[in-house]
């Protein structure tokens, strides 16, 4: 999601934020445009706004909201409103850090709640829509959230100055305490919120210099979501239960594009607790099927399993994974659309002393977040309420509004924690939210005007499509007699993620989806370079971005090919890369840091257990962050593979929360390792062969390597960390396997390829 998506002309009013479900809703009253394109929403002072409807004591209890991102209550508690989804990546903590830094808040008094759908106030500033993705959360919020905190601080200081009758310049703030230097008078934030709410909001407030930071860059700043996620109180979509709510579990077509021909619901309806059975229509991006509505999830599931459905597969996709791979290889025989063409590759390869060729193949991958997809819908008169771990508010709001013939602002979205996502909850076709709404519509037509919670079982989630697309990379590269890289030709074959989505018109140029090719051969200095792309449109498998998007395959093809070239040139893989990185200081810096920390130049100990050991390296930039990973593997006599240690160096600009960065590198490595070792969705006659964790094997604790993470100190603008740790691990492991065994891994997953 690197390309800039559309600025949707959506005029939206706030939905009441519920956050973790325990906070009262606050009415939004008024918006003002901030300077410099920054949108801050301001509210009328609570007393003035509420005077007509509230009793005096209630008005006095109203919190102080200096802008759309901060709320301070009378007890001094600070609530940060997060415009981005917390799906594990630590963004609640990150955004709160920025606000609290400039507010000089007491960190222990800071809590976070998710923002409602409201693109005017909560747009991702790099995208123009409310979306969490492309590892952009901190990059686009860095100034905005600090400004929100600084503005609130200025108002509190102004209020204290007024209450104490002293000049504001003599007031300091630290750890949530406001203090007047001359008199020693002091007070907590809560004592000043009423006055602060009556002051004019300053339009321009100074921000701290990095040397003044107390929270930003602190090695350990506790996550704001740790407490609720360790006592069972954190609320996910799965956990919401509204009065009268029915749970829907749906039967989906076994093949993509299949339709319901007929069905018999009598066995399902005979189950006590099944309330009704409804058929719902497919849309351009979501399944049609039959849903069982019941009083609880278990009964709904039993009812679903008892349905007898005849499917019409006349328009369904019936491909096999093996056929797709063969088809991609045949496409790679033909020239594709030109992505890059520098120098004269044909001549360079023709004149090469050594030609190295390889096909690298990648399967479909499911996201397999721990929380299977789900969505809660309540249809009302001229409105629709949604509860969702929402990664793309603006897109889902627009799609639901279109389905229901409503205006986007009539679709209210309450944000919840997401039990992982890895991209899945930002579906550009709004698949599962539209399915939920379609079921609620069908239920409504059958007289059930009740909240409906759609719950996908694990099998529905795994077979629900929207996979990382399968890809083939065909590479040919040439070396001269001295082992210098002369030319590189890369043909890429795979489905487009952007085609057919609202992103297409902005992202896809000349038929080239940049997410199919991003990161290929980069950033190496190659004198003759040609990259071509085939984008098959006749594969009926729905595809979507998956943690680090195109980099999931381009990093592998690039970094494995470099390793093959280094071997052909009889050069050390690190030295070979260094020579091609002139002018790329940040790449070189993470490379050198990882090399030093891993002890690359010291031979790996044999371990003395008969297993063959090797080290492998991969270097990759994605989402403007630079990551180098060095993996150490051990391969046993019978081909058993163990990744023992991973050293990771990352440059993500200014490190806002070093511990979150470390956690995201650990996470990306673990997530990428699952895909490298085991991950594949395969099709037979159009039916997905995997359905649950036994067939789609996740990495477990006993397989997790020791991980060391080193962060390059930097004063550059902060960039993302949710995705960039993912892509380098598979090539680092593959290259380590070569170092250990001499065998090249050119197809993922590694699975049983080493078994003898």
């Amino acid at each position: 999601m690197r390309a800039i998506p559309p600025r949707l002309p959506v005029d939206q009013r706030a939905a009441a934020p519920i956050g973790d479900g325990r906070e009262p809703a606050i009415d939004r009253r008024r918006f003002l445009q901030g300077a410099g394109g920054l949108t801050l929403a301001f509210y009328l002072p609570p007393i003035a706004a509420k005077a007509a409807v509230r009793s005096a004591p209630a008005a006095l209890a109203a919190p102080f909201e200096p802008n759309a991102f901060v709320r301070i209550d009378r007890q001094g508690g600070v609530t940060v409103i997060a415009k981005h989804l917390e799906m594990g990546q630590g963004v609640f903590t990150g955004l709160a850090t920025l606000v609290a830094e400039e507010l000089d808040a007491d960190w222990t008094q800071v809590r976070v709640e998710g923002a409602p759908a409201d693109v005017k106030r909560y747009a991702n500033l790099l995208m123009g829509m409310q979306l969490t993705g492309g590892s952009t959360a901190m990059a686009n919020s860095y100034e905005q959230m600090r400004r929100a905190g600084a503005t609130a601080r200025a108002l509190l200081v102004g209020a204290a100055a007024q209450q104490w009758g002293v000049p504001a310049e003599q007031i300091s703030v630290a750890d949530g305490l406001i203090r007047h230097r001359g008199s020693g008078r002091h007070g907590r934030f809560g004592e000043f919120v009423l006055t602060a709410a009556s002051l004019p909001v300053p339009s321009d407030v100074p921000l701290k210099q990095p040397s003044q930071f107390k929270l930003i860059g602190k090695p350990r700043l506790s996550r704001r979501d740790s407490a609720a996620k360790t006592d069972g109180s954190a609320l996910f979509t799965q956990d919401i239960k509204l009065p009268g709510m029915l749970v829907a579990v749906a039967a989906h077509p076994p093949r993509f594009g299949g339709q319901v021909k007929s069905f018999d619901a009598s066995r399902a309806k005979a189950i006590p607790g099944v309330v009704d059975v409804v058929q719902f229509a497919a849309g351009p991006g979501h399944f049609g099927g039959v849903a069982v509505l019941a009083q609880n999830t278990w009964i709904a599931r039993r009812g679903r399993d008892a349905l007898d459905i005849q499917w019409d597969d006349s328009a369904a996709y019936r491909g096999d994974s093996g056929d797709i791979a063969a088809y991609y290889r045949s496409l790679a025989e033909q020239p594709g659309a030109i992505v890059k063409n520098e120098g004269d590759v044909a001549s360079a390869l023709a004149g090469a002393a050594q030609l190295v060729t390889a096909d690298y193949e990648f399967p479909f991958l499911a996201h397999a977040a721990m929380e299977p997809m789900n969505c809660l819908v309540r249809l009302g008169d001229e409105r629709c309420e949604i509860w969702n771990g929402e990664q793309m508010h603006t897109g889902d709001q627009a799609a639901i509004a279109q389905l229901l013939s409503l205006k986007p602002e009539q679709v209210e979205i309450t944000q919840l924690y997401a039990g992982g996502s890895f991209g899945r909850r930002a579906n550009p076709h709004s698949d599962y939210p539209l399915e939920a709404v379609s079921i609620a519509q069908a239920a409504s037509h059958q007289g059930h005007r009740l909240p409906i919670k759609l719950v996908w079982m694990r099998e529905d989630d795994m077979r629900g499509g929207y996979y990382r697309p399968a890809f083939l990379h065909r590479l040919r590269a040439g070396l001269d007699a001295q082992g210098q890289l002369l030319g590189w030709e890369q043909r890429i074959v795979g489905q487009s993620i952007m085609q057919g989505t609202p992103f297409e018109q902005f992202a896809v140029k000349n038929g080239i989806d940049p997410t199919s090719t991003e990161g290929s051969a980069e950033p190496y200095v190659i004198p003759n370079l040609r990259i071509e792309l085939h984008t098959p449109r006749d594969i009926g498998v729905p595809v979507q971005w998956w943690r680090s998007v195109g980099h999931t395959h381009t990093a592998f093809a690039t970094e494995c090919m470099l390793d093959e070239l280094a071997a052909a040139a009889r050069q050390d893989p690190v030295r070979f890369r260094r020579a091609l990185l002139a002018g790329h200081a940040r790449h070189l810096a993470v490379l050198e840091l990882a090399v030093a920390k891993a002890g690359w130049d010291t031979p790996l100990s044999s371990g003395g257990d008969g297993r063959r050991r090797g080290r492998g390296i991969a270097l990759h930039e994605s989402f403007n962050s630079y990551v180098c990973e060095i993996a150490e593997v051990a391969v046993s006599e019978d081909g058993g593979l163990r990744v023992e240690r991973v050293v990771c160096a990352v440059d993500c600009g200014l490190a806002i929360n070093p511990d979150v960065i470390t956690a995201q590198m650990q996470s990306g490595i673990g997530y990428g390792l699952t895909a490298a070792l085991y991950g594949q969705i395969t099709l037979k006659d159009g039916v997905v062969e995997q359905s649950n964790f036994p067939q789609y094997q996740p990495l477990r604790i006993n397989e997790m390597p020791a991980v060391e993470v080193y962060i390059v100190p930097s004063a550059e603008k902060p960039t993302g960390v949710g995705e960039p740790g993912t892509a380098p691990i598979a090539p680092a492991v593959a290259n380590a396997i070569f170092a250990a065994t001499g065998k090249r891994i050119r197809r993922l997953p590694i699975a049983e390829q080493l078994r003898t």
């Binding site: 006590p272 999830t297 924690y417 992982g420």
Partner: protein
């Protein structure tokens, strides 16, 4: 009617005997800290204790726990081992998305109740049934060692 003891309280539910404990806890009793991940005892998100033993509640029929003592993440702080594990999880900021962590914590508490100083191999054996797609495994391991240390102190 099935009578259960959940987190020290007596609860009666009117459900079929084969309804998994997971859904009884979540949908009938309203204890939503225990999570649904796979439904076939392959991911451990649904882990609870029955008479002190870690079990996968998604495949445990409610009838099988009638009259037994069930405890869930909501009651993890009711004893010293649970508190130590919870504290270690917070001190090390183990969680990411958090969805699997109730199950992780319940498995870790059961491990530490039976082995006060677990080795890495013990941790592998006790925790490999709990999947974390965020791969918080490095910190889970560290937090279990940390909790073990604090329980000895």
């Amino acid at each position: 009617m099935t009578n259960l003891k959940v987190n020290g309280r007596s609860v009666s539910v009117t459900v079929t005997d084969d309804m998994p404990l997971l859904w009884v806890l979540r949908d009938e009793i309203g204890l939503t800290g225990t999570k649904f991940g796979c439904g076939i005892a392959q991911c451990g998100a649904c882990t609870v204790h029955v008479d002190g033993q870690a079990v996968r509640s998604c495949v445990t029929p409610v009838a099988a726990v009638a009259g037994k003592s069930v405890s869930t993440i909501e009651a993890v702080a009711h004893d010293a081992v649970g508190r130590a594990v919870q504290r270690a999880w917070r001190d090390l900021d183990v969680v990411q998305c958090g969805y699997c962590q109730s199950g992780q914590i319940m498995s870790a508490v059961a491990l530490l109740r039976s082995k006060r100083t677990p080795s890495d191999a013990d941790i592998d054996a006790a925790m490999s049934g709990n999947v974390c797609r965020c791969a918080t495994y490095v910190r889970i391991r560290a937090a279990i060692h940390e909790a073990a240390k604090s329980l000895k102190a």
